[in-house]
Symmetry: D2
Subunit: 332 residues, 4 copies
């Protein structure tokens, strides 16, 4: 599989490094508008053709698939150009700036029998795989809530608000784990520094009474990556910042009793052991790119295909609308 | 100062213990509807008169002040009876079940020159005192956000939702620290076990762009008591569950630059030292009750008077309304 | 069972509180040399006879058992007096100041059919019970090492070195868990403030290649209570300072392989799940005193009898000798 | 500066990567006995000459300096060959297998005016630089103790015991920070798996009453990298495994009082604020290699020269002797 990579900023070098070491794939071309980025790319990979013009990549006849690792507002245009030139596309998250763009790209890809994979990297981590497996096996029972905090000091994006920058991680993970579509969104937040919200909170209502909440913040003095998932039978705490025991499963839950009385509690709590399952130790991006190759070869639709990317974009769009109306409920 | 205490359940024994050891105050009577509670009280304090009837307390001519440590739905009636009988009142938080009740009680107390103190215990901890001092001194600069998480397994109250049970702590602390009134509230949440929300999220908008957020949850496998306060100059992380260094002050902040460009960040981040100030080691409830005696004696209005209690009740009422409308903005 | 308690300083009040609430036991007398301590005792327990003279306690004909909760250098004399007056004795750890004293007291108690219990409180905690159970069941396999760190700022004792003050906890736990007698001791340390070592390290060699190590320190800025226990099959980390999951069991171990070569590792490491068993939530001292009553009534020898206390004293004596010889091996 | 690198196993690739990106230095040759290692090296650096024979490196006339990144038992022979061929040498720690070897190499280097740098990488971390600065400024006051724990599951070396594998880190840091030579060593430990101790404890006595202790263990289920340094005025806790605030400085200490009495404490404890200074964020190895180039160019003796390496080897030799005598004091 011959790859072209557009964008060699923060994440692009990781994509190139993984593609070059992946059995059966190679990178033929790297494009970046920044001269400094091109210099870094050329020094690290003397044998790869480096260019300022993304058109060189999308039009190259030697290239089978393009990785679009550029700012979100360029995704639509670059992905479209790549698809029109018959390339499969691996595109950074969030998929597009709007649901309409995403729909158009999905249709285009399907009509040309091309694959889109959106880079929802976390789905390929040992932690998310394990949590998803626990949910699928019913180990947690009915899901009560999904509550994620993703805060740190400093923004990575300056052309979108903190929801579009940080929440795609949580939304793609939530979408993968819960396997039900939320029906409505409420988002609140505030702008302190410029025209984009730097602190935001998002609630998602699901039909089956699961509730999800996402707390994202660019102005936190400390970095937090913590997700709590509450189920009827068991509960999970996922702390992505610790070296070991990232995922902890608590044998804790709730049992409602039928006997009722004004002064009697209707609810009992169970508290048992906790265990931290051993997680697969893999580089998630390596696995994801290998899987992309596999999907192209076999024709299989990726779990993180354009439709998965579109679902996340729809939630972000709805959240932005709610945010601008200070928390008004927006149905999905 | 002679005290009567109504309610000897979970918190009542702490109030009695502190009042009995406090210089210049004594407990003459304890009332509780539960025979088991009365038995415990009598065994622990053989010399105190224990009764089933709260009327014995409010009508006793020997008693100067009554502590109402009973469920929230009884606060209005018991406080009113005590005030009508000329007693000062120390009442558990939240102050009342409605703002209207709170207003009536405040008026009644003022007309009779009696003091109401609402048990916002946290205001008397070393942690809150230190944070408040830092904010007042301007050490944090302009406040960006106040973000608190208060979750655990198990409910303490079965007649109110999780907001009315857990958020009064956060709202009273926030009210004390921020010293500005929020203008509107958005609340979301879900009921899983009975008719009361067990998971809830609350956003408060302030006129000056400070935003507050409170995450409360009775269904969390782990206990979290974490508050992040972000300011322009410095930021605070308060973790109330650690034995030492509960309050950490980060010399981190944001500097906006005037030079702008499409690809240039508008914002710079500063990251300096962190320090954990030594905190006063006191029992907060002891300090609070001492201060109550002091306020009665001197006629001073407590910082946690009926008006402070009322402000918290108004936020809770607004939050409940927003909750029932799935996040609709409710102005205060 | 009628108790007399000698010593109402730091730990005495806990012993009195537990004895008074224990079914079937009561405290008739408290002795302390300090007037302030006597005043505190009398105020808290108006109905108990409080005295300055321990002889009042040991000679009282109404008292069945005496709790000796005084400094270590008084244990021998007070315990002997109590035994000579026909009382059972519950005595603070370490049992005595020397092995010779301990031997004499054990003989005296046996000759008069009286029970001695040494207050090795930790044996009655949920954590130590669980660890001991895991070891007994063979869950850890052959034990490789027992490594404990017990450091903090501040000394509780000023008449003994840090080994005699802090290590009795570790030695009594180790003695209970390992169920094998160490054969030799090496101790190192240093005096910085007065004539007693304030920092000390102790290694104990066991016949079966288990090695134990204890790190005690009065000059640590942070409090640490951490024990690592390594076994062939599983390993335990016990952190006594965390609220939850104090005991963590790691499914990690070592497998030696028979194939050897200069460049081949002889050893493989296994790394599996971790789990934190739910621990019994009890007040250890309450359980211990209940068990003392039970042992007196039934004639059963306590697990923490005089012999257990003597084993700990022997290790301390040997350690002190090694310490004074700067690490010389002292056989037990 | 033209480099040759001998050894491309675990650490070698880091040395090569840093040398190739360092301004003014390049790697001309890499030698490794393992065909797999040579293949990895050649794939990563197509333009570097890769060889199986270290003699190619030491004898190359184009090479100015040799990095010896091979097992400890090869250090003497390879370093000697490099020096005899007029190369400066950067050699992995521990410097040599014996003090005699180290002395010979130092003399050889001095006689030929060549530099030896021993890879005590930690001296170039932000953490050690900050701690050393605090000690030098007198911020900690007189040093009471240096206590380090370095444990994990798994051995990196199979031809030496755990002291020679892990303790060189601690000894080189301690040597750099304390700036006084220890006068005697006591070491204890045990072999469980093969002929080398896998658990070991080391005490170092200093003339001025500072005491150092090092706890190293290959059989720990958890990784710990924790150093406590106690001074009269302040105390430091360095946890190298946390992402932020690795170094914490506690304004805690001890004040001895002159008034003495049998029942009065002779010692008072101070407990003030804690602060975590911002640390330099650099790759230590990058700084160290830059400094090596600087020392060669300017003729300056590195802080981590052969003499520093020799001091560490002497302590390891003494510790091994003590270990074999089960804790006997060995003078340095």
């Amino acid at each position: 599989m011959n790859f072209g990579v557009i964008g060699y900023g923060y994440w692009g070098p990781n994509v190139v490094r993984n593609l070059t070491t992946l059995e059966g794939s190679q990178v033929l071309m790297i494009a970046d508008l920044s001269a400094a980025a091109r210099q870094r790319a050329q020094r690290a990979y003397p044998s790869i053709h480096v260019t300022a013009d993304p058109q060189d990549v999308v039009k190259s006849t030697k290239i089978d698939a393009v990785a679009v690792i550029s700012p979100v507002w360029t995704h639509y245009e670059l992905t479209k150009a790549a698809l029109l030139n018959g390339k499969h596309v691996f595109v950074e998250k969030p998929f597009t700036s709007s649901a309409a763009q995403g729909e158009e790209l999905i249709q285009l890809a399907e009509s040309r029998n091309l694959k889109i994979m959106v880079d929802h990297t976390f789905l390929f981590t040992g932690a998310v795989k394990k949590i998803s497996q626990l949910v699928d096996e019913g180990a947690l029972g009915k899901l009560y809530y999904y509550d994620s905090t993703r805060v740190n000091l400093g923004l990575l994006q300056h052309d979108v608000n903190v929801l579009w920058d940080l929440a795609p991680h949580d939304l793609s993970i939530m979408d993968y784990i819960i396997k039900e579509d939320p029906e409505a969104v409420v988002a609140t937040g505030e702008k302190h520094l410029n025209d984009f919200e730097d602190v935001a909170y998002m609630t998602l209502y699901f039909p089956g009474k699961t509730i999800a909440h996402i707390n994202v913040n660019w102005l936190s003095p400390v970095k937090v990556r913590m997700t709590l998932i509450g189920g009827e039978k068991r509960m999970v705490v996922w702390n992505d910042l610790v070296a070991d025991e990232k995922v902890r499963v608590y044998d804790r839950g709730v049992e409602t009793t039928t006997q009722e009385g004004v002064y009697n509690l209707l609810v009992n709590y169970r508290s048992g052991d906790m265990y931290a399952p051993r997680l697969e130790q893999v580089e998630a991006l390596q696995q994801e790119l290998k899987y992309f190759n596999h999907c192209i070869t076999t024709g299989q639709d990726p779990i993180n295909d354009g439709r998965a990317g579109l679902r996340v974009v729809r939630m972000l769009e709805a959240a932005s609308e709610s945010l601008s109306k200070r928390g008004a409920l927006v149905r999905l």
